[in-house]
Amino acid sequence: MKKILALALTLVMIFALAVPAASAANDGSVYWLNFKPELDETAQALAAKYTEATGVEVKVVTAASGTYSQTLTSEMDKKAAPTLFIIGNQAGVKEWGEFAMDLTDTAIANELNTDAYNLYDEDGRLVSIGYCYECYGIIVNPDLIEAAGHSMDEIKNFDGLKAVAEDIHVRADELGFDAFSSSDMDGSSSWRFTGHMINLEYVYEEREAGAVWTECPAELTGNYMDNFKNLFDLCINNSLTDPKDLATGGHDAEAEFKSGKAAFFVNGSWEYAAVSGDVPNATMIPYYCGVEGEEKAGLNCGTENCWAINDTASDADKQATMDFMVWLVTDPEASAAMVEQLGIMPYKSAVESTNGFLNDAAAYTADGCYVMDWATNYQPNVDDYRAALVSALNQYCADQSDANWELVKTAAIDGWATQYAAANG
């Protein structure tokens, strides 16, 4: 028995050493290092289908949530490095741009229907192109608003939103639901505020300056922090959860909204599939925060989902990758599967969106409202910057004093300059 076991173990060892050396492809192959965990299943299925149809090997690996940069760092070092990877923001362009092929006038770039989600480096090379875009804002359950005796027409600016939210919160016991779902500050939820809601501060700075950022500004003015405070205060103080209990989280904001316990839910278009089943009338409104003229505000539209082709890959691999990308956005079935997961794709031949929130975004734009771009993508040293902001917001939620709000401002505004200097020093 022992002999057999020893033999088996030896064989395992030998095979473990031998197998990686065995696979080698002559034709181009594709290795897609995927960024969105929710896309993994679809991507794997499409890859298999593509291989079946064309014989080209496609490998899809999805990095665990929040570990993309770590995974990319180690994968790029390998001999079989990803041929298709994600450069989602300007910090990414800075870090990985030199590894990206210039996509100007390539087959995939010619399929795009807009240039709005593309990222360029300092030399004007097109390093990555958007493959979907998203929007975020405040998700509302209009049925609950009406059940509380209000109407969506009342919510056209911050004063309207505040009046409705505060009224619902005061009468929460009688109504059986509250205004806002929980605004947890743990890692699974804090990005809704430190990555998304804070965007309103940046966007209004851009609008004040009269132009959208094309590169990360070295410092911010902080002129709109009071507006961020308006909306943040409204969220945490008119909610199911006591602000003091938000730091470690543990509340399920999505479930609160879906089960009709809360009328407002701060989140984005990717939630549509999850909430539209239970709340079919769910709609999304902009971040109303008390800025003049905000009646003409739209949703926050942008993306961090941008494809880049690895320039260090062989020409055959680059070509195979390009063909695969074009197939993903032009093949009716493939693009339909992608759109179902991603919401919308900015390509000429991709199928139409079925995502209600993205259609809301388009409706705002059609009404002549201004789009709030994702200035948040410029956050310097994004992880450190957000971590500091979370810590400051935790202090503030526990004790909403002016001194603690000063800390939030310091983290958001001075922290930006500090992290900018650290990242560019």
């Binding site: 760092t73 040293n381 983290a411 500090t418 990242a423």
Partner: protein, 294 residues
């Protein structure tokens, strides 16, 4: 020639040692030396490096957060070493006195050690906050809660493990010595301090070594419990992560987005190795001297 192959142990020795030696070289020796090399380089990918000499070390030592995390870690290691070993020994002593159900207690006390650090961190953060939220606060809001929370967590996890080592030590104390002490009229206390403890010094050596190095190397539990929160937000917008320990500081430095930060993180890791290895060896030689020959 014939001589070498005469002994089958010699003939087959390398064949059986080979895989382990190879794994050790690939998984430990090579990365170790490459790590030292990288600490002198600026790099993004480890296949593309630029030599920068001691720059990274200078940066690392200038970093206030590194020094903060060093002192915080040192304090944590000493306090946790004391608690874990005193309580672990006490538990072992109690469970070798022949109380009913000793085996059950031993198993139960040992079990926390089998749970992964990340899971433990999240579970305990909920337990602590379940209590602290009654007082309107959270483990993420006060440095001292974060510190003592981590001590409690580590005690809970490690006491059972150290206890097992101490039990083995206690069981090997020669019966005749204990009997002689009894006949000579030694009190229980005298027996414990004059006979038992000197005889379990080897266990104490290994347990203090383990808890000291564990304390310094702690990462998972630190990341999951507080991840360095609360931060001190300084007027210029920079932060000091008050409960960030050395290993987490190195990790955060390495994955900072500054293009030079990976080298600095690597330099910190080398300094960290020298520190932990030095402390461990110093402590070993100190406690070894106190071991008695049976």
């Amino acid at each position: 020639m014939k001589g070498i192959f005469k002994n089958p142990m010699r003939r087959w020795g390398w064949f059986f040692l080979g895989p382990v030696t190879a794994a050790f070289c690939i998984g430990f020796v090579w990365p170790f030396f490459q790590g030292i090399y990288l600490s002198f380089c600026k790099f993004k990918l480890i296949s593309k490096t630029t030599w920068v000499g001691f720059d990274n070390y200078v940066q690392a030592l200038k970093d206030a957060s590194f020094m903060h995390s060093f002192w915080y870690t040192a304090l944590f290691a000493i306090v946790s070493l004391l608690f874990i070993n005193v309580l672990g020994f006490a538990a072992a002593y109690a469970l070798t006195q022949g109380i009913k159900g000793s085996n059950l207690y031993r198993t139960v006390f040992f079990m926390p050690n089998l749970i992964g650090g990340i899971v433990l961190g999240y579970i305990w953060s909920m337990i602590f906050d379940g209590i602290l939220s009654r007082y309107g606060t959270s483990i993420l809001l006060e440095t001292k809660y974060g510190f003592w929370g981590l001590i409690i967590l580590m005690c809970w996890q490690q006491i059972g493990y150290m206890m097992i080592i101490y039990i083995a030590g206690l069981q090997s104390v020669p019966e005749d010595m204990l009997e002689a002490a009894k006949i000579d009229g030694a009190t229980k206390r005298q027996t414990l301090f004059r006979v038992t403890i000197p005889n379990v010094m080897p266990s104490i050596t290994i347990c203090t070594f383990l808890s000291l190095t564990n304390g310094f190397k702690l990462f998972d539990q630190n990341l999951a419990l507080t991840a360095g929160q609360p931060f001190i937000i300084q007027p210029d917008g920079s932060t000091v992560k008050t409960t960030e320990m050395l290993a987490l500081n190195i990790y955060n430095t390495f994955y900072g987005q500054n293009s030079a930060s990976k080298g600095v993180g690597q330099a910190k890791a080398v300094l960290f190795f020298i520190l932990v290895a030095g402390l461990g060896l110093a402590q070993l030689s100190y406690t070894r001297k106190r071991e008695v020959q049976q």
